[in-house]
Amino acid sequence: MNLSLPLLAAINWHGFFFLLFAALACSLAVAVVLAENVVRMAFYLVLSLGATAGLFFLAGAEFIGAMQLMIYVGGTLVLLVFGVMLTAQAPFVSIRTPVGDRVLAGLVGFSLLAVLLLAAVTSPVWRGGGADPTARATEPMATPLGMALVGVRVDAAPTGSEDSQAAGVRSGYLLPFEIVSVHLLVVLVGAAYLARAKRRRGLPARPTVRMGGAP
């Protein structure tokens, strides 16, 4: 039997899911801006990030997507928890922003958006390009990524081919990887130090810093 629906036939599932996730991400981001309640903001943010992770999966970067889910969700979870803890008092749950600021920010934001969109659309090199949805699953991206992180570039052209120089140019990411890991450690220690419970030894509740006003 041959049931042929032209509309469905024209559907490019990849494009469809892209539009779905993109719409989710953008709309939820806008929701983050519009929301008053901090917890809701965080909720929208997490959903938006999840949708972005979906975009990553669509773009074939599964590892990045999973990383996005794990870290961003974890980090934002902590954000949320602290937000709830800090703003448990009624007045802080929602802090109103003056309307003038909103309008101004909106104008500025739209100008920025216009600039960015201009840059994004006008480049012919970036437009179009055939996305092959079925080619994705058979191209493991995690392995070359991991190999690159330990310093080997398997995705580079094999030696002996015409662009072996390019292979030589493309080196691994071992050093940045190490740097980032050390940086993470330092940041954790520093955060623990900053956030540790200080016993107040008579220091003023509002340390005031004077600039230039001193006669």
Partner: protein, 408 residues
Amino acid sequence: MAEYLIQSLGLPEWFAWSLMAGLAAFLILNLMAGGALAFIWAERKVSARIQDRLGPTRTGGKFGWLQSLADGLKLLAKEDLMPEGADGMLFRIAPYVSFCASFAAFIAMPFAFDMVGLRLNVGVFYVVAVLGLEVFGVILAGYASASKWSLFGAMREAAQVVSYEVPLGMCIVVPVMLAGSMDLVTIAEKQAGWFTNWYLFHDPFTFVIFWVYVTCGVASVNRAPFDLAEAESELVAGFHTEYSGLRWSFFFMAEYSSMFLVSGLAAVLFLGGWNGPVPVAELVGLSEGSGETTGYLVRLLGLANLLGKATLGVLFMMWIRWTLPRLRIDQVMTTCLKYCTPIAAAMFAGAMLWLWALPGGVTAAMGVGVPGRSRSAGEVREGWLEGPGGRRAAKARPADVVRAEVPR
């Protein structure tokens, strides 16, 4: 299987794919729901036995095996209450968040060779990440229901899960390292053959780290003795104090399905996945690659293996729950940070050294020739790719052709 449809029934490609997707989703959903029912009943009986009781006996005739179904009906009929002062939207949406999280985790979960919703080459990582998302719903619930007990429960859950993700990740990295891939299918294939090929028995470190994984898994799905989130003795019912009816049942389904998921993950990572302790199919000379129907038979056998192992894991969790007392929150944290994490790290290093010293594992070290060892993952992949279907053809299709059929 989609290829099968396309080839044999001549369905249009897009329809075949949509059909397969819908079918997979349907199966997973029913697995979760049915699994939840079955496990609730099982938990009742197990706890009753452990406490020297009978448990449900009447409903549905013998063994009260319809008890959970009756509960389900009752829950459906119950009224959904929402405390005033609660954040309505979040309150409503929280259970579905949890449920969706564990559901999404099932997408990358292989049940048998090539019997996987979506084969990701970062499957393990994906599953763990999505499991972490489940906690999110719990926290939303705890906050939204505007109740001290709920908020306390949510906070405990947040702290507990976020901190237990660390050792859990370490435990998972070990099989990934041994298999050299994050693809769950590949990991399971690497353990094909006799049970001595299971990573559980690969070397003493993996054996130790398996139990660390069990501990962390139990904690990450906050089952007893780590169920601080719903501590009925201190917090009335923890994060779902204010919930009732269908939303409450969604929480329950999410919890049981994530238990099942963690157990299945343990099975795939350490217990050989769908490869039984004894390679029956190979002994009779069959493999997934061979033939159409026989191949599917072999896969069903693998499915049975995996489900059995996962169920055993869930029962083990129940056993623990009804055996051990609940920990205090500080004890929970101590267990995670002072014991699980260092042990996991040490085992990780040990496994790494072991792999460097004798890559073959214990059996290779003993030089015991085991049938099935010869069958490497490469062949597996080859056989799978050789299998009928347009995948390799699609892959071989040059890119310009693809663009050619793209309307400009």
